[in-house]
Amino acid sequence: MMSDIWTVIWRERKTLFRYRGSRLRTVLSILVPVVMVAVYFPWQTEDWADSYVSLFSAVVPMMMVLLTVPDSFAGERERHTLGTLLATRLPDRAILFGKLAVSVAVGFWMMLGVLALALVTANTAHWDGQVHFYSATVLLVDLGFGLLLAILIAGAGVLISLRASTVQEAQQLLGAAVMTPPILLGLLALLLSERIGDAVEGIGATQAVLIVMAALAVAGAGLVIAATARFRRARLILD
């Protein structure tokens, strides 16, 4: 099973951003978030390496997954390669997890790069004679949060891409699906800002972040399980 997943990853990596316009679109899409997270926020925040402001870096893997995952199955369908792929001996889960892994890994590696760049910016902007690194807790929370968010969106993206007839359709549906929960949660946060503030104060910022991460993990696992259940060769060949 693992060797089959690696085979799918090998193939996905070979065509990543090779399609016409995809490199430019990717660069343009992530340019603003990368500049904000790697330059603007660390420049503005004095204790960047020790605060949860660096959690904003999770937007980078989120963006990368949003750009890559709609292509996973809808792209194969659009380019008429899905039927041939399904006619091979590759197990269903190897195809699914291979495609998921590539999107998540691309986002995660990009996040590592952005966190490193942000550290350089923070040290340059607030130089006090010694180099500051991320505290272990902040780094683990940042990476964990980014990874879970990437898995959550990749799960939703694969689920949508499995049924979408074109990459554009998958992108539009995923965009809508990803935007709706933050808008609703934002409205809820505005309405209950005092209560939420009290609650966070009561349990501490780290605990609050861990609770959010646990919720992301549960939601991500649920979406991946749903995608696994939805991956049926007989359905895919007919869509």
Binding site: T7, W10, R18, T84, R89, A234
Partner: protein
Amino acid sequence: MGQAVTSPAIRIDHLSRDFGPVKALDGLSLEVPLGSIFGFLGPNGSGKTTTIHLLLGLLEPTGGRAEVLGFDTVKQGDAVRARTGALLEHAGLYEQMTAEENLEFYGRVNRMSAGERQSRMKELLQRFDLWERRKDRVVKWSRGMKQKLAIARALLHRPSLVFLDEPTAGLDVVAAAAVREDLATLAAGEGVTFFLTTHNMAEAEKLCRRVAVIRQGRLLAVGHPDELRARTNGPCVEVVGRSFSQDALDLLRGRPEVSAVEREDNRLSIHLRRSGEVAPLITLLVNAGVEVEEVLKDKASLEEVFLKLMEEEQ
């Protein structure tokens, strides 16, 4: 899980598949022997592609069952796919990858060792005259070249059975002829069973030793092209000459092997019930005073047979 040596490559037993109210396949029963090119003929929408999808275990039948290389297509679809190659209705190539990378991927999919992959890729790319272009991205290639690469991909892991869904569809005459020639050579050289769907009768006639004809999901006929000819029109002999008297025509019509005689000016068409000796009929005509100038043994083309079968079905 072992494959019985004596079993046919494909055994289909009352296989049906419905898509809502549409019967794509309606009780198809068929056996495909090992080691030949089997032609599966039918007009567009007759159920050819659905049959391939069912045989590869990509679709589940509504009724009946099928075995491919001794494996049940529903319960052992993975085993079927591991032992077969397929060129479906689209070439299915990753066009932003090179030819070499496409084959490399499918070699890895089929768990071939690195050395085995390299040697087999070289062998197939050279055979299809694609070796010099192996580093090109496939997107730059002509349709004929892509189709050849897709066939090479289907053969890469030395499968016992290869499904080819209209392999020459959309190709120009020269490219189609080249693909047909390659297929004939491969079938002879590799000992692979090919299950070839087509609506190109000339292609089936040239390549296939056995053909099945389907229409609207139902099997109309199966056998060697000559058997199908005999079952529909039978062979025909055309005699060019003079002095075709009524007596001579009556004598011919009285022969048991003759099913019909038609005369048009200086040409006589003698329809036979089965293939056989023509010389006694020519002797009969000469003895009856006919001046024979030329004798043409004419076989109805598979296309005519196909059309006849369609007519009968309607």
